[in-house]
Amino acid sequence: MDDEAPNSLRRMSSRTRKVAPKMVAALASTDNRTQAALARLEALENDNAGLETVEPIDDDEASLDDDDEGYVQKKAKGTKRKTRQAKALENARKPPRNFLELLHEANLESLPPQVPSYLRAAVGPPNSTCRRHFCTVCGFASTYTCVRCGMRFCSIRCQTIHDDTRCLKFVA
């Protein structure tokens, strides 16, 4: 996870604002499997997995949003379609929506080490590093690893299902 040598081969887009912070960390990492694992953990904290278009849609509800977006809102209504620039403006004016963004802003790393903080309260890695592996297809103890993506399976039957469905899904 710590091998964040800036990968010059990967062409990074400048539009990273829309990507979740852990995803940014994952993209910076060179290891595809680490990327997949981090993205998955991030997904577990997501409220609306499967409904990914939620946030853009409810921008139209003035009642729940900030009043000071009036300018952008009016413009959007006038043209019936938001230009890309208007959307970018709106995004830029929104306060940080995510706890991890706030955490980053608070700059807790700069506190002296004896002060208890959110970061220091995390329990940290376990003493024994043995990880049990379960088959990603059926859930039972798995003995094999997919050579392409590193996911686990327990039998030929599960391997076939794995190959057919989600092998390389994240790491293509």
Partner: protein
Amino acid sequence: MSNVVVLDNGGGLLKAGHAGDDDPTTVIPNCLYRPLSSKKFIHPSPLFPSSTATEDLTSAAVRRPIDRGYLINPDLQRDIWSHLFSTHLKISPPNSTLLLTEPLFALPSIQRAADELVFEDFGFKSLHVADPAKLVHIYEANRQPHGLAATAQCSLVVDCGFSFTHATPVYQNVALSYAAKRIDLGGKALTNYLKELVSYRSVNVMDQSFIIDDVKEKLCFVSDDVARDLQIARRRGKDNLMRCTYVLPDGVTHTNGFVKDEKEAEGYKMLSLENIEDHGDSGERVQDRKKSDLNKNEFDLTNERFLVPEMLFHPVDLGLNQAGLAECIVRAVNACSSLLHPVLYESIILTGGSTLFPRFAERLELELRPLIPEDYHLKIITQEDPILGVWRGGSFLASSPEFEGTCVTKAEYEELGSARCRLKFSHGKV
């Protein structure tokens, strides 16, 4: 004395009521949701006192003001609170005092946002902010005045909630924040994990958070021997005590999902009675196949039922590089003075909705016992209603005579600002 409102502002459920009462006036999900049929986000109906869930929650989108346990969207929270205060509690904030819960280590910007919300948007007369661990300790100490938590004034509160899990030592009614430890796993992550498993293995339920929440609450349990239970879950037909079928709502005859066979769901409890032997494959294969018919709006759960809560005890299995609950407790205790260790181990209080999984306490004891010195006693106290434990402690604290003095008034806030007022909650004076 004026009206004191106690508000346990949880990530999943909002518990609100009047100080001095035994139970909160209302418990509602702390979110707005939008069903498929609507364009607007609407307020969910309360779960308590009467659960009249008539809403159609299939494929509902959710917006929560709280992310990872902390208040990050004050605008949304203001909406939910004003609905709560006007329709459910029927109070007027300017004449009331508020006791609000906030998890430990809230960032200064989050604290400021909460203070602004309370004083500037609602204009409460005064405010007291307390952390959940302290309130749970107060409740337990008050409930059993001769118990150890009361006489030693010290306990270890394990709060396994919606957003995360904390193990916090409490000493003389103050949570020892330097020793508190957190696992970044809670009910929400577990629900999402179950959702992921079910979606991959049988029916796509990725957009059905509420239904999977219900599945988790009804069917998941903590296994006390994972290897053995995995063996059992492999069996076919009737020998498989783990298998259970959940019927999804079809929107016509029933709008809520339900467990197909309650008796089947309880099957795993018979484990302790029967002795485990290997069953060979009997000729029930055909029946087996028939059962997992995907056209019939239902799905089977087998090993998912115990592998999902299992992640709290072994987050590493999920790829989250953190210690499990038992180790988390040991580290929290070890961070305290060694004089407190024996007392802390003897008064571990479990609270929070995720501890409601059957056999949670037994499993924790099983894992914890080998990790602590053998001459220490180990006692795990479970609450009769872990979801309301924090609120009840708050209700008790707010009805004590000294409470008024520990609040920050609106005038003090206006003069000193948020940061200075916060000192009062930790040190007792501005």
